[in-house]
């Protein structure tokens, strides 16, 4: 079905507004036709995932080609942010990343800046940059950002991969399909949580369990049974894991999320998730007694409150000589953590605090090879789901158990 374009959009397609916008709208029309979008919807923000491991030489060369166009043709039309980068120039040598990685990173940054992109380098922009508002249409380029924006704020975004998010920044629009449409936002799956999650890793575990059950971008779970409102970091871990395990982009949690309960069809029987299911999920990644090579707090990047929790858990202790402890946060939170002494308290233990990266987007396979890393411990269910494909053996544990294990050098 052809996508209906306005006069201005037809002008973009004809090249009146330059080659970058012509490429952008052609890409959007192709995606829109695939999903039977009737038209394009204006967006107020875009958010680009463009780590250099994903881009490769071909992706960076593509960005550089468009970035070399005249300034009036290449500037984004709406505020456009960046997801975490592949490398932090302050820490890359300590982590075993190479000069070649730093060089391609610098090229990608220069190209993105030429579009007028704001280099926020974060996957927690909803906590730190500009939270969305209800019914705002967005083009967000990180699954955790999309699910949080859609569910917690009632905004409207699909998963926008890097090329599509850049296209949205250039045109100020995105194809109107999926979670931009009310009919796609109705609940299709029903879950009842019968155990109280004890920490962030368990919030992630519940997200992972529901994500595995859903298993499709087009399923919308409704979750009941959580008897007190979770905080932002809990919903962050829950949503990120749900999006990772299920490719899920929206959940409803009556009493917590803003949209009224509407079902896509007959109300399905609820699936119960209790203590046994949570414990079994965590145990499936268990490895008590194993040597720990690397402990990672990331995916999503840490909030200031999480940074303080890591600092408190590490206070006065030393990370084992054969273990690396890596903490990844956004540049904004890193500045705040520096100012408040949290970075110093964490790094005095021997840990590394990196800004603007998120581990799995940072050449995780090459890091494993360079450092001899195999056993990874984290409190992020999203990270344990992703990282197996890079050759790691991941274990999920609470923040406190992660820190105790980093100090002991083995999984405690």
């Amino acid at each position: 079905m052809p996508v209906r374009l306005t006069e201005e959009e037809e002008g973009m397609r004809a090249g009146v507004f330059g080659e970058p916008r012509r490429w952008a709208i052609e890409h959007q029309v192709a995606v829109g036709e695939f999903f039977d979008a009737a038209d394009l919807v204006p967006v107020s923000q875009a958010h680009i995932m463009a780590d250099t491991e994903s881009l490769g030489e071909a992706g960076v060369a593509f960005l550089e080609r468009l970035a070399a166009m005249p300034e009036a043709d290449r500037r984004v039309r709406v505020p456009t942010l960046t997801d975490p980068r592949g490398l932090d120039f302050q820490t890359y040598k300590r982590l075993g990343q190479t000069e070649a990685m730093a060089a391609i990173e610098a090229r990608a940054i220069a190209a993105l800046r030429a579009f007028g992109v704001l280099m926020t380098d974060t996957c927690i922009n909803y906590q730190t940059i500009m939270p969305p508002v209800r019914d705002e249409h967005l083009a967000m380029g990180d699954t955790g950002v999309v699910i949080y924006s859609n569910s917690v704020f009632g905004a409207h975004s699909n998963f926008e991969g890097g090329p599509s998010a850049l296209a949205a920044g250039l045109t100020g629009r995105t194809p109107r399909y999926g979670y931009h449409l009310d009919e796609c936002r109705r609940a299709t799956r029903y879950f009842r949580v019968e155990a109280r999650p004890r920490d962030l890793s368990e919030w992630g575990a519940i997200g992972g369990i529901i994500g595995r059950e859903c298993g499709s971008y087009w399923e919308v779970p409704l979750i009941e049974g959580l008897d007190e409102p979770p905080g932002s970091d809990a919903l962050k871990q829950f949503g990120a894991a749900l999006a990772s395990y299920g490719s899920t982009a929206l959940f409803h949690m009556p009493g917590v999320t803003p949209e009224p309960t509407e079902w896509a069809g007959a109300i399905p029987d609820p699936v119960s998730i209790g203590r046994a299911e949570i414990d079994a999920f965590i145990a499936s990644y268990g490895a008590t007694g194993d040597k720990v090579d690397v402990v990672v707090f990331a995916a999503p990047q840490l909030s200031l409150v999480e940074m303080a929790a890591v600092a408190d858990a590490l206070d006065g202790r030393c990370v084992h000589a054969e273990t690396t402890l890596l903490v990844a946060t956004s540049p904004e939170i890193k500045h705040a953590a520096d100012r408040m002494g949290l970075t110093r308290r964490i790094e005095e233990s021997g840990a590394v605090v990196a800004a603007g990266i998120c581990f799995y987007q940072s050449y995780a396979g090459e890091l494993a090879e360079a450092n001899g890393w195999k056993r990874l411990l984290t409190n992020s269910a999203k990270l344990v789901n992703i990282i197996g494909g890079y050759g790691y053996r991941p274990t999920l544990a609470s923040l406190e158990r992660c820190v105790d294990s980093a100090v002991a050098g083995r999984v405690v």
């Binding site: 890409h27 192709a30 995606v31 036709e33 695939f34 999903f35 995932m49 463009a50 780590d51 994903s54 881009l55 490769g56 030489e57 071909a58 992706g59 593509f62 380029g141 990180d142 699954t143 699909n158 998963f159 926008e160 991969g161 890097g162 090329p163 599509s164 399909y177 999926g178 298993g215 499709s216 971008y217 087009w218 999006a243 990772s244 395990y245 299920g246 490719s247 799995y360 987007q361 396979g365 789901n385 992703i386 197996g388 494909g389 890079y390 050759g391």
Partner: protein, 136 residues
Amino acid sequence: MPILLRCHPGIGPAVTGTALVAKDNFSARYDLDRKAGTFSRPSHALAGQSYDGKILVLDTAKGGVATAWMLHEMQSRGIVPLALVFNRVNPILAQGAAFGGETMVDRFEGDVTDLIRTDDELRVDPAAGTVEILNR
């Protein structure tokens, strides 16, 4: 007489090639060793197998957004599936196919991972919205 399967019109050029089928999902970041051209995630149904030049027949997409860039990067090095034939894709796979020039179709009448077998010879025509099984 080839078996004709109908699907939603897709993305990319028409291609002919050999199927690699599994009842599993797909993410370029989660599942692949893109240098070797193999499935690297130990728990994937196709773990250890080469995807290079194959028509991948799988259920749906999983996980995150990286595949949108990675299909383009894989195309540039020539170590890439010939086409993606799925029951239902998410936006990232569609965006990645559109950006990378990868052939992709989805939305069949029936479960495509049952209808097609590994080593079947397929003709995938995204514009027509058809997949022909040539060897049966």
